[in-house]
Structure formats: C-alpha cells, structure tokens
Amino acid sequence: MLLSQAVHTLPERLARLIWGWALAWWRIVYLGAVVLVLGLSPSSYGRLGRGLMARRIYLETTPILLGFTVLAALLSLVITRIVVVTALSYGLSRYALEMVIRVLVLELIPLTAAMFVAMRCAIPSGSQLASLRVSGRLAALDRAGADSVRMELLPRVVAAAFASVTLAALSCVVALVMSYLSVYGFNTAGLVSFTRMFGHVFSPEVTLVFALKTLFFSLAIAVIPMTAGLYDLGKSERRSELGGLARMFAVLLLIEMISLVGNYY
C-alpha cells in the first residue's frame, strides 16, 4: 500500500497526506454508520448485550454525574450573575434572563457537557479499546466467533452517548434552576414570567435544533475517540490519537456552528 513505502518527493507526500486524512474521516463516518445500525437493530439487545450496555452505562455515567452537576451549577450561577449585573447597569434587565437562557442553556451547557463526557468517558474508552486491540483480546473474540464490535465497541459508544445526553439534560435543568434562583431568590414570585419567557425562547424550531444538536454532540464524542482506538495505524499511533481528538473538536465546532446558523440566521 501507499502507506508502507518511503516517500520523499512533495507530490507523493501531499498525496499521502490527503489519503491519510480522507481515510481517517471515512473511518469515522463508517464507524458511525455501523454503530447506528447496531444500535437500532433489536438483536443487539439480547440478554448479554443488555447486560454489557447496562454495566457500561452505569459505570460511565454515575461517577461523573454529581461532579458535573456541581460544576454546571457553579458555572451557571456565575454567568447568570455577571449577565444580570451587566444588563442592570445598562438598564436592560428585562432582557438579561432571556439572554442567560439563550447563551447558557441553549449553547454553553450542551457543548460543555459533551466535552466533559468526551474527556472523562469517551477518550478513556477509546484508549481502552486501543489497549484491547493491542493486547489481542478483540482478535481473540473475533477468532472465537464473537462480534467484538457488539461486545466491546457498542456498549462503550452507547454509554458515552447516553452519558452525554443525561449530563446535558441534567445540567440544563440545573442551569435553569440556578438562573431563576439567582434572579428571583427562593420564592415563586417570578415563576410565571420565567416560565413564559422560557416558552418564548424555546420555540419549536429552537427546540428542534437544540435536540438535534445534543444528539449529534453525543454521537460525535462517542464515535470519534473510539475510531482512533479501533484501527491499527502502525507507526503513527500517537499522532492518530491526537488527530482523533482534533477531529472530534472540529466536528463539535461544526455542529455548534450549524446550530447557530439554524437558530439565528
């Protein structure tokens, strides 16, 4: 193959670079498709499959839940306070809360949750997969006739995606509660107007974009780090891991940009 030859001339190096880049992206797309197919097929949810998935989901979500909730609460409290005080100084306090919801709940929290899950769950899972591959377990499973993808990859991917969605949902709720508390305090005086404003912000289009964004975020952070771990790239192993990270961030950024365009353009 082209990869194994020693190359010196510029056109050859360029061609190799483009080929490597295209291959990496193709693998991501392909693995994403595989994971979706497997995730949507009922046979993946046999007794063992369910057991594996349940275990991974629990192990990956529960430890980070409390920590991230506290982090999200703190972050939303600080940001809400900053925005409300700034808006008050300009006499624009009635726009402050709406802005907080748009910025925090719609944009910041899902992105932060996705990146947090990526750091804590997906990337370690990718490393685990890489070590499983290197140690030969995946090959052993394949030789034994088992589906290593369904046994090792799918539960990790599903767990990471689930963790991302759960964390995003929980931290959005926490952010809403903290923003309400920091503006109105511990009473129900502003509940009606807050609810109304929340309904005003979350129009059907915005809600759809938000839901799709969260879904695609979770898919991106679940699939891309696993791709890096799953494929054997020989000498460029180290670079491929970092490249996987970079690709994941690029995809996250792309999804964010598309959601912003969909919301505000």
Partner: protein, 330 residues
C-alpha cells in the same frame, strides 16, 4: 457469543490482571439511571409545552393592521404590562391588510371587552409591542374569533420628518448666527453698550451719550428731589393749614354755613325785591307811556310855541304900535 474453548486461555490472562468486580444490583441501577434520564427529557418537554401554553384553552383574536412590520410570531400582547396573549400567525388578508392571529388564554380573556382598543407601537429602541386597553370593564366580553383593527404608532417613521425639520432649523440658526448677520452686529453693539455700562457714567452715561449730560440729569434729579422734599414739607403745612384744627377748612365750613344763612336771607329779600320790582315795572310802564305822551305833548307845545312866536313876530312886524317885545306867559 463466546465458545467453550475460550475461557481457558482467557482465564490465564485474567489471573494476572487486576479484576473489576461486578456491580451489585446492576439491572436496578441501570434502570434507575435510564428512568432518570427519561424523566429529565420528558419532564423538560412537558415544562416546555406548559410554557408555550399547549395545555391552556385559548380563544382567538384577530388584529387587522395595514402594516405588520416588527410583529414576530411568538411575541406577547400585553394588558397593563402583563402578557395576556401570544401571536400565533401573521398572514395577509384578502384586502391586502395584515391579519395578526393572537391566542388569548381563556382565564385572561375577561380583560378584553368589545370596546377594547389595541395598539401596535414601535419605538426607536426595543421591539414592537402590541398593547390592549380596556376602558369599560363592564362592557360585553370579546367573543372568540373577534376581528379588531389595531392602531399603529411608529416612532421611527417620524424620524425623517424630524431630521428635515432639524436640518431647516440648523440652517436658519447658521444664518442667524453668522458673523455678518443682524444678530452678530446687534451683539457687537450690545458688547459696546455693556462696556459703556461698566464705564464711569454707568447706565445713565450710556443712555445720554456723554458724561456731562449724565451729570445734568443727576443734578436735575437731585434738584427734583429737593423740590419734592420742599413740596412735601409744603404739603404738610398746607395740610395743617387747611385741614388742621386751626386751619381753613373749619372756617370755610363756618363761612359756608353763614353764607347759607345769608343766602336764605338774600332769597327772602330777593322775593321782596321781586315784588317791588313788579310794581316798579308797572310804574315804569306807566312812566314809559307817560314819557311817550310827554314827548308828543312837548312836540305839540313846541309847535304851538312856534306858532305863537310866529304870530307874535308877525304882529310885531305889522303893529305900528311897537311896544315891548315881551310875551308874558300865563
């Protein structure tokens, strides 16, 4: 899944590696987690639906405007500052007017009456606002599907007019305050005047033009003051003289009283005199008659005398016996 021959080499590998123990009650915990996530998602969706008023019975209000610029689907219609309706649709009517379809929750619909007025106000800063005003709350309630015209107020439409007026005003101001304009020269004169004001003559010197004239005026003023003082003094004395206890007025009063008495006497005298005069008048008329007769008599007498004289003269002329030419009258 795994074949029976698999566990032996695997067990050898696993024996050396560190083992993670199975999670206790994994199924339960996994279910709980799944349920929690589902609860979060479904709860958020329900809260969103409540926030958007999906479970509120509403009635429809249609506002007819000739221009719906600034109106956005989802914006609130406020009544006394409280949102009581939400814009659901904006469409173009058959006659080219904009139809704004508003959903009003039925619990708030009692604030709108058939006589309610609706306004669409667009300020310079901030978005457009739809406001409802109800003057008579005892009026009939607004029915479902009612169509009402909305009054439009757009502050930004006034801006071009305002700008052109401001431009005209600025042009006029420029003409007015130009250095060679009437105002400029007037102000220059005013400056000269104020300089003179601060000069030795002061305001008076400025009015009179020269200091000597100003001094004259001051002197005149002093003299007038002295005169006034004297007149004042005189007036006081005159007052004393006329109205004092020893003054003129009491005497004049006494005089008047005497005069009155005199006049009364004179009146009586006059009435007597009047009677006398009447008599004198009669006498006089008699005398006048007599005088007239007297004249005739005299004339006759003279005529007679003349005759006599003539006769005597004749006789004397003719009488040879001239004797004394004397007539002795009887």
């Amino acid at each position: 899944m795994t074949s029976p021959s698999q566990p032996e080499p695997m067990a050898a590998e696993l024996g050396e590696a560190e083992l993670i123990r199975p999670v206790a009650h994994l199924r339960l915990k996994a279910f709980a987690l799944l349920f929690f996530t589902l609860f979060l998602v479904v709860g958020s969706a329900l809260y969103l639906m409540v926030a958007r008023g999906a479970f509120e019975p509403t009635q429809r209000l249609v506002l007819i405007a000739d221009d719906s610029e600034g109106v956005v689907v989802g914006m609130d219609m406020t009544f006394s500052g409280f949102p009581i309706g939400r814009v659901r649709r904006i469409e173009l009517g058959g006659d080219g007017t904009a139809r704004i379809l508003i959903d009003v929750p039925q619990k708030d619909a009692h604030w709108l009456r058939v006589s309610s007025v609706f306004t669409l106000v667009r300020g310079i800063v901030g978005g457009t606002g739809i406001r409802a005003y109800t003057g008579m709350l005892e009026d009939a309630a607004l029915p479902d599907g009612a169509e009402r015209p909305v009054l439009r107020g757009d502050a930004t439409a006034e801006i071009p007019q305002l700008m052109s007026s401001a431009r005209d005003l600025l042009g006029n101001l420029n003409a007015l305050t130009a250095p060679d304009s009437a105002l400029g020269t007037s102000l220059g004169n005013v400056a000269t005047l104020t300089e003179r004001l601060q000069g030795p003559g002061g305001a008076l010197g400025m009015l009179m033009g020269s200091e000597a004239d100003a001094k004259k005026i001051v002197q005149t003023l002093d003299r007038t003051n002295a005169l006034l003082a004297r007149i004042d003094h005189m007036a006081a004395r005159a007052d004393e003289q006329v109205f004092g206890a020893q003054g003129l007025m009491p005497e004049a009063r006494a005089t008047v009283i005497e005069l009155r008495k005199l006049l009364a006497d004179a009146r009586t005298s006059l009435t007597k005199v009047d009677a006398v005069l009447v008599q004198a008048q009669a006498v006089g008329s008699n005398v006048a008659e007599g005088t007239a007769d007297l004249g005739a008599l005299r004339a006759e007498v003279e005529a007679s005398l003349r005759k006599v004289d003539g006769l005597v003269n004749e006789i004397n002329r003719r009488w040879p016996f001239a004797g004394e030419k004397e007539i002795v009258l009887p």
